[in-house]
Point group: C2
Chain length 318, copies 2
């Protein structure tokens, strides 16, 4: 089968053997896959992953002894052992022996087929189309924020970074009664939020007054956390979504002096995402700027790094 | 009056005019003062403070229209405006116009007299002697941790750093039912905790297994937070007490990937501290390694930076 493989920091199209589902796994024929900031970070060396890239997808279960056969599904990306101390204490998504689809120790979804544990799959209701379903993984990560922090009425909230993830996070927060400002530098994504009546700001327009109750860093950049520290009020909360390659130079004194809470936030519940997509609460369609075939995966990855693009979807099969 | 003044990174004894209490303030004759890690950091340039150093003290109210006149007191170090948005929203210790005794914009207590707002003073019960009372401020900061985090029975807790603050924090945590390990490198302070039946460990002995529910960084060093990130379990909590000069090189990816909560923690409630001292719950006496007169303040500060010393007390007046 065809696949987009990352090796030594380069992405290339390769012909590889299709995966053979292991015990408990199902084989899925990929329909669409989404390119995400983490894919670009992996290409820059984040996490040291090599192999088939990609973790955002929607597909059809092709085989496997399961009542999911023939069904349209999305799948949680953490594949866990179910037996370690973390799995047995309710922290399965942090399993000590986990592999993560297209990120850590397991082939990804920029391929015609992918094998994942059957228990990771969620069937997609008919009311959600493929181009919505492919956003399930990042949207789940966005919803995780309002599971971690009780966002109350009139809370002053800032989202910094209005890229792929920031746009989803801003929309999720806009479903609450908070007073939201989305902060970014890309006129294209800011305009998209303006149209959704989310108040927006660029960094130079900001007053750095330590006045936000909650700041969510979706910048994907080492500059995000220091800026968040200037925006958050004393005893306020920063949700940190940024994972990027390498170390940052950071003076964390303000976290101590202002007694700030910093919450690391990674994955979320796919059911939250599917439920919001079914209710058409979140508009993901307007984020898609380009659809390209799997065979043009490397070019799509190069384009995805440019500010003019938001979400690029790889069309794989039906 | 005599005072220990810091100027251009050097501490020196100076003859200065005694403070004149402003409206709402009382003049306090200092009895004892304690040297703390923050004083040493200020000497290294932290916060850019210049003037009379010191913020840990016990004294006698010398004058002022107050029923505290003649009373033995300790005083909260944050002096606040009472009118800004933070003061009026219950965050007075973060007042936007605050000054902090001996740390920020206000003369400290390494002097014969200090003026502080009357409302900052707490009378000390007779059952607490001067050498106990002088620990009220750092002990309050230690108790703040168990106000910020619900420390539950059998929780696995690590304190890293067994210096002046770490010893207090370890003792405070030992009053709970948690499973506590104090981690340090100073054989003298580790031995002191061993005698109190706190389990201790040195860093080389540690398995870095991400297994602690709660890790408290009292190292006062840029190495503390990265070590804490290796000890804390996924979705666990790090309490950050360290303030030190300058920036650290830090890769905060593990905070996001492991969905860790980082809580900045600064000051605490003096009533918690006085109540514990009155009940003799915390042994502070064994931490005092030296008593020196105010006139030897600079020498005392130099000694306090050495590993053989724990708490050095400046004796000022009676």
């Amino acid at each position: 089968m065809q696949a987009v493989v990352v090796e030594s920091g380069r992405a290339m199209v390769r012909e590889v053997a299709p995966p053979v589902p292991q015990s408990g796994e199902v084989l899925i024929k990929v329909r669409l896959a989404g390119i995400c900031g983490t894919d670009l970070e992996i290409l820059r060396g984040y996490g040291g992953f090599e192999g088939i890239l990609g973790h955002e997808f929607v597909g059809t279960v092709a085989e496997g002894k399961t009542d999911l056969a023939g069904k349209r599904v999305v799948a949680e990306i953490n594949c866990v052992c179910g037996r370690c101390d973390l799995c047995t204490s309710g922290l399965a998504s942090h399993c000590r022996r986990r592999t993560v689809v297209g990120i850590n120790g397991r082939p990804g979804v920029f391929a015609e087929y992918v094998a994942v544990p059957a228990r990771n799959c969620l069937e997609i209701p008919e009311s959600i189309n493929d181009e919505e379903a492919v956003f399930a993984e990042p949207l789940a990560a966005a919803f995780q924020i309002i599971r971690q922090v009780k966002v109350e009425r009139r809370m002053k909230v800032a989202v910094i970074g209005t890229g792929r993830l920031g746009l989803l996070v801003a929309q999720v927060l806009a479903t609450t009664d908070c007073r939201l400002t989305a902060i970014g530098r890309n006129p294209k994504t800011l305009a998209l939020l303006d149209r959704k009546r989310v108040r927006t700001s660029t960094v130079p327009e900001l007053k750095l007054l330590n006045e936000y109750d909650l700041v969510v860093d979706c910048t994907g950049s080492p500059e995000g956390l220091p800026l968040a520290m200037k925006l958050v009020r004393p005893r306020g909360t920063i949700v940190l979504k940024t994972t990027c390659r390498g170390a940052g130079e950071i003076d964390w004194t303000p976290i101590v002096v202002n007694e700030v809470t910093v919450l690391g936030s990674r994955c979320g519940s796919f059911s939250d995402a599917l439920s919001a997509l079914a209710k058409k609460q979140i508009d993901v369609g307007s984020m898609i700027t380009r659809r390209m075939p799997l065979s043009e995966g490397p070019e799509a990855l190069a384009l995805a790094a440019k500010p003019d693009e938001i979400k690029i979807i790889l069309t794989v099969g039906k």
